[in-house]
């Protein structure tokens, strides 16, 4: 594991590079696009394990944080969705340039899946395979999901305030970000990549909608792997989630 900052010095991104197992080295890189908020905290270990497991299979792997999140520069109130899409591009270029791999695959978890798909509208990124793990199918669906959680009243800090900022489990989504996200709906476009692997931990209305929208694609593969996926849960002690069957399924799918 090699932690480092990359990108422009004023908008630096934090990344962790996992070098490939030399005995199985491939000419392929994998970028992991994280999710957001407490989900990001809970999935950090899972992302690290997934990265290690893929590196063991010979892939060059890069994990990173979007601007205003994690260790990357800035604060959430200063960034918008176009910044995050730009960050994905910057990270892909970083992975490509530093490792000299010809092929790039991108994995996105939840919001990371939505963003990675949106970034993949640009064919210049030359993403070969897109792996969407419990992806949000649209910004609106995400907003509604969070508002539904807020209505349960588990925490007085979970609110939509008078500025239309949605506060959930300690992380804010500002009005601008919510509006930006509301313009992305995976059912309305097809990412530019050779193959899509859509993996879900539990099936619901949204996962079925996306499956219906994309199932006519030649290279679309859908799999339901039973595992926990209660991403909106939060506990007092930073309990993290390790859905091993999903990590194994993704590794197996990419390595086959």
């Amino acid at each position: 594991m090699n932690p480092f900052f990359f990108g422009s010095s004023s908008q630096s991104l934090y990344g962790v590079y996992h070098s490939p197992n030399k005995l199985a080295m491939r000419d392929e890189g994998v970028l992991l696009c994280p999710t957001f908020g407490q989900e990001y905290m809970r999935s950090h270990r899972a992302n690290r394990q997934l990265a290690s497991s893929l590196a063991q299979q010979g892939f060059h792997v890069l994990r990173f944080d979007y601007r205003g999140t994690g260790d990357s520069s800035g604060y959430i109130e200063d960034v918008c969705v176009s910044d995050w899409l730009e960050d994905i591009e910057t990270a892909i270029n970083e992975l490509r340039e530093t490792t000299c791999v010809n092929t790039i695959h991108v994995i996105g978890l939840r919001l990371g899946g939505l963003l990675a798909s949106a970034a993949a509208r640009d064919s210049k990124l030359k993403i070969k395979q897109l792996i969407l793990w419990d992806p949000l199918i649209s910004g609106n669906a995400y907003d509604l999901e969070l508002q539904d959680e807020i209505s349960k009243g588990d925490s007085k800090c979970n609110v939509v305030d008078s500025d239309d900022t949605l506060h959930f489990n300690g992380f804010p989504l500002y009005k601008k970000m919510r509006l930006d996200l509301s313009e992305i709906n995976l059912c309305d476009f097809e990412p530019q990549c050779k193959k899509i692997y859509h993996i879900v931990s539990s099936e619901n209305e949204n996962s079925n909608l996306l499956k219906s929208a994309w199932s006519s694609r030649d290279a679309y593969e859908y799999e339901h792997v039973e595992a926990p996926g209660d991403w909106n849960h939060v506990d007092q002690y930073g309990g993290i989630m390790l859905p091993q069957p999903i990590l194994q399924a993704i590794t197996h799918w990419l390595a086959k």
Partner: protein, 285 residues
Amino acid sequence: MREIATTIGKTTPLTAIITLPTNFDASKPAVLILNSGLMHHIGSCRLSVKLARQVADAGFLALRFDFSGIGDSPPRRGTRNFHDSSLEELNEVMNHLQKERGISQFISYGLCSGADASYEIAKRDSRIIGIAQIDAYAYTNKKWFIKRYLGNLLNPTAWLGLVERLTSRLSPVSTLGEEFYQTEDYQREHPSRDSVAAGLNSLVQRGVYIYNIFTGDTIEINYENQYRDIFSDVDFNGFLTLEYYEELEHIITSPEHQKLIPKKICNWVQMISASSEKTPIEISA
């Protein structure tokens, strides 16, 4: 202010982020920001990042890092428990900053298990001149019981809560696969009150400043100055700053407190750093 990703140690290094002030001054203490439970080095709700940037803007080097096996630091081989390995790794981190940056004084900050580690390292290492803890070791007392139980007798909401708790015991419990959740191998155990009192006494005698913040989620604390009452046998002599936020959650989800707490800790860091002589003064954060 500049952030630098680095690794500490050779064989199985620890991952750290140094936040370097624009005008770095090695004579000022560095602020060490520790993990809380299994949360990685950005801290609960990114609080550690905000704190590091604020103290760096105030001229102090801040270092956030992951203990081995947590966040971006790989696990190290060995049979030591977290208590022992965390102290050894803290020592390693301080040695690194001392050697590489010439810093000889440190302030340690942590929430929950990070608060415990801050207290434990301060007892052992004289380079620590201050500890800031959120939800440190705490104990109930007589007044706590009175407030907790007598106050509830006439409170209909409390009775309703009791009924809900009793009925929920009869409800089905979630069977979501526990094997998918990683629990801490660090089980938080409170040492005896007497041993903590002895520890606090030794810290104060050495002139270590202590800033304790308690949230409303600390079960053992339910009123403002309870910590002083619990440790009435410790002569804090002005070295303790104590705050209690009844409405605040343990993982600091409130946006107001996410701004307030780093600011208060930063003010406290500046003040204790400024008091070069350990004159007993009440520090107001």
